[in-house]
Symmetry: C2
Subunit: 246 residues, 2 copies
DNA sequence: CGTGCTGTTGAGGACGATCAATGACGGTGG
DNA sequence: CCACCGTCATTGATCGTCCTCAACAGCACG
């Protein structure tokens, strides 16, 4: 399929941290298909699709979103290399209805056909890894839910940024820059673009974000974490809990 | 263990709708333990517990919540008969940190030890059912996330109520009454109690909620759904998708 | 008969939404 | 090379939803 663990390494990293064995990874590699580049702003998964395949992100940044009648967009979660874009839709097709996935930067994605997924899940060490991947997604939703609708705009934005930094570090992306527009942040935090702009300026004034660039670049991670009240434990993978061994 | 499918029927209903087979259910029945009553306001699961067991709710209503330093409480989700209280914590122990489960009414619960869970998951028709149960929970989080921080207090409260009614109907509870205090609604919707009170009064004035009782009783479901913009499809269980059959 | 929880009401103020306009930047085509 | 365009960032002004503080009523409980 023209895909090796060089390009697919974020996915390998992630599955390994979820408890997959070395030989599992090779099986996964075999079923990866259609190594595709999606341009920024294009859809990775259509809202209307009944897909028949699971998409995984290898490079770039995307988001799962819901579009409203009034044209508004709610960003449900951001996705980073190694993340699955629509795993929830594989298990519960109905829940994926009306939810789309959009590339925020240029993205590299691969897909796994549902039939191949079935094969993968028949492996006793791989199935729990996928289960965990989906539960990690659930944990992210739950954590964001607990912070949204609570606290000030400053705390909400700070928490959002902390989450993305932490999730990127989990797949060895240590850059302090996040390739997000302020519009993206607004749609994810449930705030207006204008207010997000002012909030980001406050963070810059506090020397938490870089004043130099117009992009989002975190220069004081510690202070950001404090403002957010961020506790990254919910993202921690328990390396191979013994109960999965047998 | 003194538990039969009479008392455990909501759990049976739920697992069946998630694709479990008849003989699976009997196996589940065998490992259910410690049929316990928890009084309203007591904790079903401690925030600090490292549990070693999964709890399922058979009767009553509970909530998963997060407690803040300032004493505030965020309600992450409500739980109804047939729901698991801490399934996420079984798959990802770390994510359950600092999250508690509290009884909102008097509750009947059973527990399944982690060792027994491992046994259950070795059954190829049962494991997907549990996966789906957890994904359904994720879908609920995601849907609430998309509505929280968007729309008016009226819409948010209406959506919350719609969700609970729909989830209760899925386990054959068709009562229009919800045993929730306004404080519970406030903590779940991310609004102040005072404002929830005014919002509920508005709903009563619109003849959506009963004016007679001080409890929450929905008398005009259709209008409530309209106000909420509620689309219950995300809760729908695909009855036994063929891909799980083999 | 207190005590605590829940529901209710009033008044004032703050945070963030909305509307409107401008500036900066990169790409595209003439 | 420059004019034009779309996207994104920025700023100002006004307005409204919702929060906060405060007080009181009903009810169940010991």
């Amino acid at each position: 399929m023209g895909i090796d663990w060089g390009t697919a390494s974020p996915l390998g990293l992630k599955l390994k941290s979820l408890g997959a064995q070395a030989d599992d990874l090779n099986i996964v590699l075999q079923v990866l298909k259609r190594h595709v580049i999606v341009a920024a702003h294009d859809n990775v998964v259509q809202e209307t699709d009944a897909p028949g395949q699971v998409t995984a992100l290898l490079a770039g940044m995307s988001c799962a979103y819901k579009r409203w009648e009034d044209g508004g967009r709610s960003i449900l979660t951001f996705q980073h290399p190694g993340d699955f874009c629509d795993l929830l839709g594989y298990v519960l097709p109905a829940s994926q209805a009306a939810i789309g996935v959009q590339a925020l930067t240029d993205c590299t994605v691969v897909v796994i056909d549902y039939q191949d997924m079935d094969k993968l899940l028949s492996r006793p060490t791989l199935a729990p890894a996928f289960w965990r991947a989906s539960m990690l997604e659930a944990a992210v939703y739950r954590e964001r839910l607990s912070h949204t609708g609570r606290g000030t705009a400053l705390q909400r934005v700070a928490h959002l940024l902390c989450e993305q930094l932490a999730r990127r570090e989990a797949v060895s992306i240590h850059s302090p820059q996040l390739p997000l527009s302020q519009t993206d942040v607004a749609d994810a935090a449930g705030l207006s673009v204008v207010h997000v702009n002012r909030t980001i300026q406050t963070l810059r004034r506090l020397n938490v974000l870089s004043k130099a660039s117009h992009a989002i670049e975190v220069v004081d991670r510690k202070q950001l974490t404090e403002i957010a009240g961020f506790d990254g434990r919910y993202l921690i993978m328990p390396k191979l809990a013994s109960k999965w061994d047998g």
